[in-house]
Symmetry: C2
């Protein structure tokens, strides 16, 4: 494909993308594809000869769009928001168009230094102090793995430089609440700690926040048994209910044992943009690492997860490599992000944050987040006031967890009812909600915050929920 | 930014991207930015209010392009090719435009099933058997880390489900050649094995391929000392010289101890597209994992690294999570790529491979790779025939490693001469070459294979090398 063929096709594609955004509100939110259906539609022998661009565009329309769950829909309330603000999409296009290679500073000084600028901007916009430095990772899963490895190495006095984790006599233990995201346990296992050394600390049955007394007890018991607390993961905004672990108390409990504190605020980090929400993060300045995803609520297109650390020097000691073919004369003067995370090669992700912040402006982003908080409080109040309905967890952010419990319905029958009405809504394509287990029973999460979701959409889904749950199937 | 603002800006951006591609051959290959220069040009307080798109475009021109090393230049011979074929750029634009969320099959069936299709296509195009299944990762660094963790878990009988690596009494050992990429050692350290349990196996002083007799000896010695060989990394196409470790012999040596064999073919994997190059991979069908990067020589824009495994069931056992909020009724029938790697959230990367293969066709890609192999052999012959010049390693692929050694120049003085003439070329902006330590001395790698590089460009760089190295500075 030569440049002029590219130019013509890309103009067509831009119109296709813009038109798709206009069509999204009319599309079923959940993909209607059956397992194997997409594959069957496009499989076959690998293409030997060029196909016309029109064939690709047709497949996007006929196969890819119907095979895609429309998370940009105003009626998407599933999982957490996964916004792709158009300003950030533009930045992503620029990144693809530039075709940069991020391996060292020298391979693209702009890629490195813009990443410093935007991570510092977001540090300042979220009220963090200048002791933090950040980098862009793909996801909070990877960021948490990096944090767990850094914690492991700090606790073991850089065992990776010697005999590794096996050379550590005392078992190293990691603590997280029962409500922590699945990626936390995954990171602990991948880092080699082992499930026996992962303590799931009980959460408060009402707030679902970590019980710090229980944390202290567990740590003391481990120490008494000859084990060493290496890390605590504090979740701010859990996936189930957006519960907020008390970071200040956790930091204080962890400090007794010198344990690393990682704050996982994948979803809730966006709330730090709002001064009135920063109380949820009290104590964060004394944590060791913090990750949050602009690619969720804030709306910079996936993948864009930030990991901030206070001790960059330690991180770099744990992650660095210095082969001859990557050296240059300026190495001492510049940031080498390859030594801040797992991958060597990196895309120019800073552009999407740069475009997003500059083309939309922080003020508009904050206004949108406040709109969502208000919509969540409105929905919470509606559910609270409605007979037979219950809000099952506090609503500190934009997610409302509900059950519809008609008189007499309990236990497994109630769970079956919950899953059934949720699935009827999802199957209708008119909205998308995620069921989740909260405190041992199935609830429905209404996670407000798709960029396109206005009050009317929240009002409409609440009507849909009542109509669906209260109607016999 | 609303849809029509996006449409207008994106059309402008497409023209800007196409025009940039036309300009690239005239730009200095290496960025002329000094450390801190980009940052100083764009820093300041975070933007509160929207800026016009024109301001962004101007900064792309004035700051980002000069701050970018032009790896798409026809005169880029640095590192390894990092091609961003325009067909794949289009696919990347489509991915950004769709704004899909890849967390589970349900969140985007098309994202999952197209990834199955394109990884199977590339498996078939590279002559691998149907026992392999692949997934797209960001980089070979991450793919290697996944492989090392899988190897650790196989060797330890899934210790992650118990007391972790610390509960394994016998130290687990990993082997790789002294020429293996830095990401291999990094993966071994991050996976917790420890540097004492990483054996750098000597390479043949002429071919730079792993000495398998030495591997066997090291393994036997470790076993005798009560340690257990857990994994061997075979490098096909090392970064220094594109040396080829003998995979069949390595597999045979490893099988005695039940060690996992990971084949790191980040660069050379593209050569498997050519039947005449497949001999380099003899034995790969008995390895456990194989990674290679279409985002290098083949030219699907970064980030696009493939990891193929034979035992998907084991991989999934090691990597899987199953929280309630990610479950759906079709889980048993579909592929959940979250359980094949580290991140939960994934971009729609299959689109760039799908667009690249369909819009260019495999035949044209193979023709381009053959062009580069021929250019490398031409350059090798020229250097061989030129007095004072030397080709320092075999040229099985597209990288030619050379020194210019005028009579009497040896040791440190020769190294200084090599680094000096290479730097003079790089500083001129007329071409970009990477120096590297090979067999203890500095050489200059001429890595042919930028998509735009034709025979005339190779001829020109060879003239530039002679003119520069043979001239007094």
């Amino acid at each position: 494909m030569d440049v002029e063929e590219f130019r013509a096709a890309a103009h067509e594609l831009v119109d296709w993308i813009a038109d798709l955004r206009l069509r999204v509100p009319e599309l079923p939110v959940r993909s209607t594809a059956r397992p194997g259906e997409v594959r069957a539609a496009v499989d076959g022998v690998p293409p030997e000869l060029p196909e016309p661009f029109a064939a690709l565009l047709a497949d996007l329309d006929d196969v890819v769009v119907p095979g895609t769950t429309q998370v940009q829909s105003p009626r998407n309330f599933a999982w957490f928001p996964s916004n792709a603000s158009l300003a950030s999409v533009l930045g992503d296009l620029a990144s693809s168009g530039l075709g940069s290679l991020g391996i060292t500073w020298q391979s693209s000084p702009a890629l490195t230094e813009l990443e410093e600028v935007v991570t510092d901007w977001l540090r300042d916009l979220t009220g963090l102090s200048s002791q933090w430095r950040g980098a862009i990772h793909d996801t909070a899963s990877s960021a948490c793995l990096v944090a767990m490895i850094a914690a492991r190495e700090r606790a073991s006095g850089l065992s990776e430089a010697r005999g590794g984790l096996q050379s550590e006599p005392a078992p190293l233990v990691v603590y997280a609440s029962t409500e922590a995201h699945s990626s936390v346990a995954k990171a602990v296992l991948l880092a080699g700690f082992g499930r026996d050394n992962l303590r799931l600390v009980p959460a408060d049955p009402v707030t679902f926040a970590m019980d710090v007394d229980a944390l202290r007890d567990l740590m003391a018991r481990d120490v008494a048994a000859g084990r060493r607390p290496a890390a605590v993961v504090a979740s701010v905004g859990t996936t189930g209910t957006t519960a907020v672990d008390p970071v200040a108390e956790i930091v204080s409990a962890a400090s007794v044992h010198g344990a690393w504190v990682h704050v996982d605020a994948a979803m809730a980090g966006s709330a730090m943009l709002l001064e009135e929400c920063r109380g949820m993060f009290d104590g964060v300045e004394c944590a060791d690492s913090l990750s949050w995803n602009p690619h969720k609520w804030m709306g910079t297109i996936l993948d864009c997860s930030l990991l901030y650390v206070r001790d960059v020097e330690l991180l770099v000691r744990v992650m660095s490599t210095d082969p001859s073919y990557l050296r240059s004369s300026v190495d001492g003067e510049v940031t080498q992000y390859k030594d801040w995370g797992i991958p060597l090669g990196r895309r120019f992700r800073a552009l999407k944050l740069w475009f997003h912040l500059r083309l939309d402006g922080a003020e508009a982003i904050r206004a949108r987040l406040r709109r969502d908080l208000a919509n969540a409080q409105w929905l919470r109040a509606q559910v609270d006031a409605e007979p037979g309905w219950e809000v099952v967890a506090p609503v500190p952010l934009q997610t409302v967890c509900v059950v519809h419990a008609p008189a007499g319905l309990t236990g497994d029958a109630l769970d079956a009812h919950t899953l059934a009405w949720c699935e009827r809504i999802n199957a209708s394509g008119r909205a998308l909600l995620t069921p989740a287990l909260v405190g041992g029973r199935w609830v429905v999460r209404v996670s407000i915050g798709a960029e396109a979701t206005e009050h009317d959409d929240v009002s409409a889904v609440w009507k849909l929920m009542r109509d669906t749950a209260q109607r016999r199937p």
